[in-house]
């Protein structure tokens, strides 16, 4: 059996220590979870392991032999591969071309031509393995974010792996796809592959992990056997306080209908969609990837125009021609893809937070710098966003902290209706709790919230009602005693043919 050890790893960025003596031992054939708050250093540790960053001190041993990885190619050669937290695909290229890049060797002829047939066959096999039913020639730009994640996984499975690192692989996946991924993990495990699995979804860790190492502030808190440890204990070790109720849904007192979709259609929504959201209510939308959930959000937020049906806001029929018009009516959308739609990565946290509300802090067109800074600092504090200061570029934040920035910038709008598309993707347990509290606060103040989520416990735990979508249509609604995993799965999975 192979064994991977990291000993007393230290790593800092421009003088700020991020990892402070981290130890981690992973055996071949085990699933080893890595748990820690946003910004604890999990991704940094994995990047150090794979040679993307160089550790300031400490050593990495593979089967007892010290390793010195200078780049990701070195670690890949040694049999360690990583699926990154942030997607790293070329959206201008097709799926197969993406798989090719970085793994050209088997697909090139002596003179450098590409063996396209072989590439296509292998791509097809891999796509089947990860359960993505798309043709290899599909441009990545046409794929949803969850589908892209599957392509990333396929990509990592190309080479011979002995250790595979998955940095929040399920953050963008729905339940169905997650199960599929778990099957794949099981297969890999049986073949003796060691898996390092990072996730903020505790249920998943209990489902597949054998052991877990908890990181806090760049230090190892401990390694535990998954079978012997309680969830509460883990949470406490991780965040340093206990989180009482993971999904603190508050009593709802639904008021008037704030949003009503009456058989709306758009370029992307071919079947008419109807739903309502009331004030003081959190309404969920669940369903599989590609079920049309994001498309509904886009229509509400004025990104896609209505081609049919009516949308009413507080009883008034509205037609938004741009996100701006939606915002002017108090409708804000937290987009699902923070990297492309949510953040200007090289810009400071302060500027990203301020962007949608710039006009509120101006005098004669001039930005009131002092107020902007205070504003940014307040939101950083309210969501406990981990930053060095408000001027740190967003690109240097950990994934979960980036998500909090996106969330904060829309919350700061104080919208009447907040549409959330996967709001807590990659956010740690403690911070999720904070976000849920903020949602409850909005609810209490009579705002409406429409939440798309692939995180089933969150969807069922926080929503007052849930619409279920499949194939671009609303196929059912869960409420009251119906709000149950089994019922949900039945609705999602039921295919029209097998209707009993």
């Amino acid at each position: 059996m192979s064994r991977l050890e990291m000993r007393a790893i230290e790593k800092g960025f421009s003088g700020v220590p991020i990892l402070r003596k981290v130890d981690l031992t992973v055996e071949g054939g085990e699933v080893h979870a890595l748990l820690g708050e946003n910004g604890a250093g999990k991704s940094t540790l994995m990047k150090t392991l794979t040679g993307i960053y160089r550790a300031d001190s400490g050593e990495i041993l593979l089967d007892g032999v010290p390793q010195n990885f200078h780049s990701i190619l070195d670690s890949r050669k040694a049999g360690i591969n990583i699926i990154h937290q942030e997607l790293n695909l070329f959206s201008n290229l097709s799926i197969e071309e993406n798989l090719l890049i970085g793994y050209e060797q088997p697909f090139r002829t002596a003179v450098g031509w590409i063996r396209s047939r072989k590439l296509r066959e292998q791509t097809r096999e891999l796509l089947q393995l990860v359960g993505l039913s798309r043709s290899p020639e599909t441009p990545v730009s046409e794929l949803g974010i969850g589908e892209r994640q599957l392509v990333e996984i396929a990509k990592a499975l190309q080479s011979d792996v002995r250790f595979l690192i998955m940095d929040e692989p399920t953050a963008a996946l729905t339940d169905q796809e997650t199960r599929r991924l778990f099957q794949m993990i099981d297969d890999l495990k049986r073949r003796g592959v060691g898996i390092i699995y990072i996730s903020h979804r505790l249920e998943e860790l209990f489902a597949i992990a054998d052991r877990v190492t908890v990181l806090r502030d760049g230090m190892t808190v401990g390694t535990y056997c998954m079978r012997e440890v309680e969830e509460d204990v883990l949470v406490e070790r991780m965040v340093g306080r206990s989180v009482e109720n993971r999904y603190p849904r508050s009593e709802s007192q639904p008021g008037d209908v704030i949003l009503e979709l009456d058989h709306i259609q758009t370029r992307r929504l071919h079947k008419p969609i109807s739903l309502t959201v009331r004030t003081g209510e959190i309404v969920g939308i669940g369903g599989m990837m590609g079920a049309g959930r994001t498309e509904v959000a886009r229509a509400i937020a004025g990104i896609d125009r209505l081609l049919g049906g009516t949308m009413r806001l507080k009883g008034q029929s509205v037609q938004f021609r741009s996100p701006r018009e939606a915002l002017e009516h108090g409708v804000a959308l937290v987009t699902e893809d923070r990297k492309d739609d949510g953040l200007i990565l090289p810009f400071a946290v302060r500027l990203n937070l301020a962007l949608p509300t710039l006009a509120e802090r101006q005098r004669l067109g001039f930005v009131e710098q002092q107020r902007e800074r205070a504003f940014a600092e307040e939101w950083i504090r309210r969501l406990s966003i981990r930053v060095q200061d408000a001027d740190q570029p967003v690109v240097n934040l950990s994934g979960g902290n980036q998500q909090k920035v996106v969330f904060a910038k829309w919350l700061a709008q104080d919208p009447q209706l907040l549409v959330l598309d996967e709001p807590t993707r990659g956010v740690d347990v403690g911070a999720k709790h904070d976000i849920y509290q903020l949602m409850n606060e909005m609810k209490a103040r009579g705002k409406g919230i429409l939440m798309i989520s692939s995180d089933l416990p969150e969807l069922l735990g926080m929503s007052d009602r849930v619409y279920v979508m499949r194939d671009g249509a609303v196929v059912g609604q869960l409420m009251g005693s119906n709000m149950d995993q089994e019922v949900f799965m039945a609705l999602v999975a039921r295919s029209q043919e097998v209707e009993s």
Partner: protein
């Protein structure tokens, strides 16, 4: 060194080095009259570069500024020769510059064409219109009252330098202090994110080209006044000097990053190089090669330090 990085002192360092070298190698360089001359020589390019900064910050480019300059100068000169009040003719020229910019902007923002291609087209188009309008002939005999714009001085400082300073401060305030400036940066950083945040990205895109066009017209008026002639070939190749100044100043051609202070420093670097090469009597055959090398060195100085992240 973080303050060095934060305030992007690379270009300034380059300028200081150049000034030091020239002060040592040439006695005439560090004199008030020569320095004023450098500023005067730089002002036309500086005005173009200020407009170019707006455009490049949105990840665009404006290759048409040289031709816009020529077209608006020719029109203004012809009007003045025909008896129009110089103020009126000047303001009309600025408006025409704005219209020319708006034409670029609309094609970029609403027709979604690549800025490079659009302005490459209008560069040729505006130059062609100038040639048609002037019949390829220079326009002389401008009224004396127009002389002061390019050749006058206030408090010993040439009027074009004053104009450049004023324009710089206005543009600097807009870009770094106003909501509009923030939005321009945001559009360059990620247009989609800006759009989703409710920024009217298209309007801003048109606006930056309008700014560039107006400043090109202003630069044209100054140039025409200084030479007391409007040449149909005026401003040929000026767009490249303007772009060079912007890039030397540390502004990213990909948009969203850069400062106007940097641009001015970039323009000054170019002006000082030209001036120095003349003072040192470098043969005109060598001038371009030396200038090119200095530019490359300055840009490398800047890259070195931004690599760190």
């Amino acid at each position: 060194m973080s303050w060095f990085r934060r305030y992007r002192l690379g270009p300034l360092l380059g300028l200081v080095l150049l000034v030091l070298i020239l002060s040592i190698t040439s006695q005439q360089f560090l004199t008030v009259s020569n320095l004023l001359d450098v500023l005067l020589q730089t002002s036309v390019n500086a005005l173009l570069a200020i407009g170019m900064t707006f455009v490049i910050l949105t990840a665009g480019i404006d290759l048409s500024v040289g031709s816009t300059l020529a077209l608006t100068s020719a029109l203004a000169a012809e009007w003045m020769v025909g008896g129009t009040n110089p103020w009126l003719a000047g303001i009309a020229a600025l408006c025409i510059g704005g219209v020319a910019g708006a034409f670029n902007g609309v094609l970029v923002a609403y027709a979604r064409l690549a800025p490079f291609i659009v302005t490459l087209g209008t560069m040729t188009l505006f130059r062609g219109l100038t040639e048609i309008y002037t019949n390829g002939q220079p326009i002389f005999n401008l009224p004396n009252s127009f002389n002061g714009l390019g050749n006058g001085s206030i408090l010993k400082i040439p009027v074009p330098v004053w104009i450049t300073i004023v324009m710089f401060f206005i543009a600097w305030a807009v870009l770094s202090r106003t909501v509009a400036g923030r939005r321009i940066y945001a559009i360059g950083g990620n247009e989609k994110v800006a759009y989703l945040a409710g920024v009217r990205a298209k309007r801003y895109l048109v606006a930056v080209y309008v700014v560039s066009g107006i400043l090109a017209a202003l630069a044209g008026l100054i140039l025409t006044s200084r030479l007391a002639t409007a040449e149909p070939t005026a401003g040929n190749g000026y767009e490249l000097d303007a772009i060079t100044a912007v890039v030397l100043g540390g502004t990213s051609l990909f948009g969203g990053e850069g400062t106007l202070v940097g641009t001015i420093i970039g323009a000054l670097i170019l002006g000082v190089i030209d001036n120095g090469l003349n003072l040192l009597n470098v043969s005109s055959f060598y001038q371009d090669a030396v200038k090119g090398l200095v530019i490359l060195i300055a840009i490398m100085l800047d890259r070195k330090k931004s690599d760190g992240r």
